[in-house]
Symmetry: C2
Subunit: 193 residues, 2 copies
Amino acid sequence: MARQGLTRADIIQAAIEMIESEGLHSFSLRELASRLHIKAASLYNHITSSDELHTEIGYYAISELKKVQLAAIAGKERSEAIESLADAYYRFGKDRPEIYKVILSLPMVKNDAIHSAGFDIVKPIMTAMAGYRLTREQMMHLQRVFRSIMHGFISQEEAGCFRQFPVDVGDSYRMAVRGFILLLENSEKEAQT
Amino acid sequence: MARQGLTRADIIQAAIEMIESEGLHSFSLRELASRLHIKAASLYNHITSSDELHTEIGYYAISELKKVQLAAIAGKERSEAIESLADAYYRFGKDRPEIYKVILSLPMVKNDAIHSAGFDIVKPIMTAMAGYRLTREQMMHLQRVFRSIMHGFISQEEAGCFRQFPVDVGDSYRMAVRGFILLLENSEKEAQT
DNA sequence: TACAATATACTAACACCGTTAGCTTGTCAG
DNA sequence: CTGACAAGCTAACGGTGTTAGTATATTGTA
């Protein structure tokens, strides 16, 4: 009745908007359905489960992050590229916290599609490190270190863990990035010998 | 009827055991009550809400982590202390992943008791860094960097994000710690000038 | 143009969740 | 011994994701 011909894409889109504005924690299928002027059960004509929808939103989130990262490193090299990439990462987490949380909550395990989508996040980092004379093995390790630093920092700040001291969080962040660059330079020296 | 005289401590204890064995995600008050041979509503004679219980378990988790950390740095200095502390942190996250998740999910914001409990996690790091000649301000920043690295690494590995390359995760971890020590040494030099 | 098939919506219900109100009853202190 | 408190209970509310079965608008085809 008064059927509006909703598509799967419409639903994913609406879910993303809802998560961005209301927060991931308060998301529910019933509320989503209500916004689309539909009953919750009707959503199942387009999706097979809540998990699947969640995964779909995860693809979007990863592609958004990748987009921002690629733009950040364009035409840059070495420490400039790293700093710019880190800034992009950091700002994404701050500007779109709910979308960032979606990425974190993604079940990387056992889902091949998401697993391979994870490569999208790795690539920009590898590119940014290309200006350093590193072995491929070093780069694989360093990419993990970079992601650990960025993710760790963003999620701890988001969780409110950084309010314990009266020093600027931005300064802490820059120190963290500096530490990574030091490690890059140090690894470069090691690779030369 | 067959009243067993459960105490608040009994309930918290049972909840901890249940989370460790079954996982945080599948925890529920009803299941907890069932294990105690009680109805869910009866739990409310001892706790005021699910959130409160969650917070209580958080205190336990933080105290456990602190215990492990203090033991790790006892009688050690400088890089040896840092490495040992990092190892303790890392092993805690790996050995007791569900309890570690409880710490992460703690609502640091707005809860003063938890906020101050957070200092328990900071202290061992500050102590471990005491052997370096750093200003107090530097230490506040570096403590954030350390926690970011550790938390970021543990949670990404736990999420399965590190399966994308065929290089040893332990090697990546050691490289991350080495990066932090490099940053410490570098900061020390800066403080001297 | 008519009809069949499909896509889109619905209602009703199930099993779970946290939580509250109100009741019973065992236990212990005065 | 008795009154008060503590510790349990049942029943219910509103919330969640999900399934089964039904109706109907749209669309493709004969």
